[in-house]
């Protein structure tokens, strides 16, 4: 768990309009780590991700990315710090073709995947490249959403429910991809309902409940924590 601190969140509160969703989240992610945030539906995991990139309403507390305070930065400045975000709702653009969608996010650093590499990984996308983005099937859109940010060279990837709606084969492929990314030194924050997907991939886990982190443990402590997870997640 060495390596420098990539992300440090301290006492993060976030609101959607009037409703107060995050109540003081604290978490740290080191460079090169894969960290998974677990929790029930509505625990606030997505909100945490969105708060990092600046997509919630009001937020307070501290978000440091590579040591730089980002709590007051607008989203495009956060992205420039090397953050790639794959939203839960996929966010595929209807007015852009699949390929335009893929090429949309501007590269923020070197070292992103090449288009050929991506098409290799997701042959469906190549086939449907000219189709309007939202005409793709649910799963294809999911692939596109992930592929899109792999291209940009962002070193901190925030991935929200990326295995959702994908066929088992593809889910396996994604798992491999994340291993490869980790090997290349990328940092990944994974939010997953699909515990079996996240469990073997993550170095560390945070468990969230009602907008707070209630538990933190490492891969090696996973076995010991299954009972607790059972209680929190019904796994």
């Amino acid at each position: 768990m060495a390596g420098t601190e990539m992300l440090r969140i301290a006492d993060l509160h976030a609101w959607y309009g009037e409703s107060h969703v995050l109540h003081g989240v604290n978490l740290t992610v080191n460079e090169g780590e894969v960290v998974s945030i677990l929790g029930r539906n509505g625990a606030g995991r997505t909100t945490t991700m969105r708060a990092i990139v600046g997509l919630t309403g009001r937020r307070t507390g501290s978000i440091r990315i590579r040591g730089q305070e980002a709590i007051n930065l607008p989203p495009h400045r956060v992205a420039k710090l090397g953050v790639g975000y794959c939203p839960e709702e996929r966010g595929i653009f209807a007015s852009l073709s699949a390929e335009e969608n893929l090429l949309l996010p501007p590269a923020i650093a070197d070292g992103g995947m090449g288009v050929a590499e991506i098409y290799d990984m997701f042959p469906n996308l190549k086939e449907r490249a000219a189709s309007p983005g939202t005409r793709l099937s649910g799963g294809e859109q999911q692939m596109l959403a992930v592929a899109r940010i792999l291209r940009t060279g962002a070193r901190l990837l925030l991935l929200d429910e990326i295995s959702e709606g994908l066929a088992p084969v593809i889910v396996q492929k994604l798992a491999e991809t994340i291993r490869t990314l980790k090997a290349k030194g990328f940092t990944v924050v994974l939010v997953e309902q699909n515990f079996r997907f996240a469990a073997p991939l993550a170095d560390r886990f945070y468990v969230m409940e009602h907008g707070r982190i209630v538990k933190e443990f490492t891969q090696s402590e996973l076995g010991a924590n299954m009972g607790m997870l059972q209680e929190y997640l019904g796994v």
Partner: protein
């Protein structure tokens, strides 16, 4: 989470976007007392020195705005062509009463019917379109009606159809007397207002609500949504027509102003200002706009347009729920705080 199959709804679906004042759909006790108080006030209006012609005009526009709101607020369709129904029926009634010697009650009925027929025609053309397209196609159709009224011999072109006599209601009540006319207008307005209340809460109103909330869902439950929208459109058009007819009798003329697209803009302003999707909002909105026009007429002269423009802007920026909508929201906030 969205998939191609579920984005059928059309992202531009208009109306009640922030679900303004949902709470108002059921008529609460407080609202009932307020209505009662207002009714008493309205009944006494001529006696307490309110100027009857002004109040009548106001009620006509209030009815027009309520009719419009039935569509925007309770069906989620923004029509940019409601002036067509209002103005066309105004001419129809004017012409029948003045040139054909019809009695006022028949003239009014014919006006409402003309509105309904025109609404049916508009509806058949426009109803399958959504959002901005719906707005634009109704605008286009109403422009055609405008040019028809400009050209048709019986409207008197830009001079207007002037000198319509009110006649005697059922051959008995002399409507020429402003006070008699006033009570007729009030009765019709109250009737229609209650009618709209009923429509919105009726089984039919429930279906409209479903359509507004989630149209593909309503379809999948087996509702032929276009037919429901069409009926709502026809009802709204017919009431708008009735409002126009009534206005002809009150003012004794019908002119092109009534069919011009800016009248469609005005009725939107009224609804918006008062509160889209609330029952009483359009009435308040009409009251404010009409009083304002009346006041502005003597006081500010050339600044009218600017002032109306400023109201639009302020309304959109600061009072999106409208006067009544904001009041209801405020009350709700206060209640939840307790």
């Amino acid at each position: 989470m969205s998939t191609p199959s579920t984005s059928v709804a059309g992202d531009l679906e208009l109306g009640a976007p922030q679900a303004p004042a949902q709470a108002s759909t059921g008529i609460g006790k407080a609202a009932r007392y307020t209505y009662l108080a207002l009714l008493v006030l309205a009944l006494l209006a001529p006696a307490i020195g309110l100027y009857p012609v002004f109040v009548m005009k106001l009620l006509c526009f209030a009815l027009f705005a309520c009719a419009f709101n039935l569509l925007l607020g309770f069906t989620g369709l923004l029509s940019f062509g409601h002036a067509a129904f209002f103005g066309f029926s105004a001419y129809v009634t004017g012409w029948l009463v003045k040139q054909q010697g019809w009695t006022p009650e028949l003239g009014l009925a014919a006006g409402a019917a003309a509105g309904a027929v025109l609404g049916l025609v508009f509806g058949l053309v426009a109803i399958r379109r959504q959002g901005i397209y719906f707005a634009m196609i109704t605008l286009a159709l109403s422009q055609m009606v405008f040019f028809l009224c400009l050209q048709a011999p019986f409207t008197g072109g830009e001079d207007g159809l002037q000198g319509v006599e009110r006649g005697k209601l059922f051959g008995l009540l002399p409507l020429g007397d402003d006070r008699v006319m006033y009570y007729l207008v009030l009765a019709i307005f109250v009737g229609c207002f209650l009618g709209i209340l009923r429509v919105v809460t009726s089984p039919f109103g429930q279906v409209l609500k479903m359509i507004r909330e989630n149209e593909p869902r309503a379809i999948s439950l087996g509702y032929e949504v276009d037919r429901y929208k069409l009926l709502a459109f026809v009802l709204s058009a017919s009431l708008a027509g009735l409002a126009g007819s009534l206005k002809t009798l009150v003012m004794k003329f019908a002119t092109l102003t009534d069919v011009h697209w800016s009248m469609s803009g005005e009725v939107i302003l009224m609804s918006l200002l008062g509160g889209v999707g609330t029952f009483f909002g359009p009435v308040v909105g009409a009251g404010v706009v009409i009083s304002l026009q009346d006041m502005l007429a003597d006081k500010v002269g050339e600044w009218v347009t600017v002032i109306i423009g400023v109201i639009f802007v302020v309304c959109v920026l600061a009072f999106r729920k409208g006067i009544v909508g904001e009041l209801l929201a405020w009350r709700e906030r206060r209640n939840t705080k307790k």
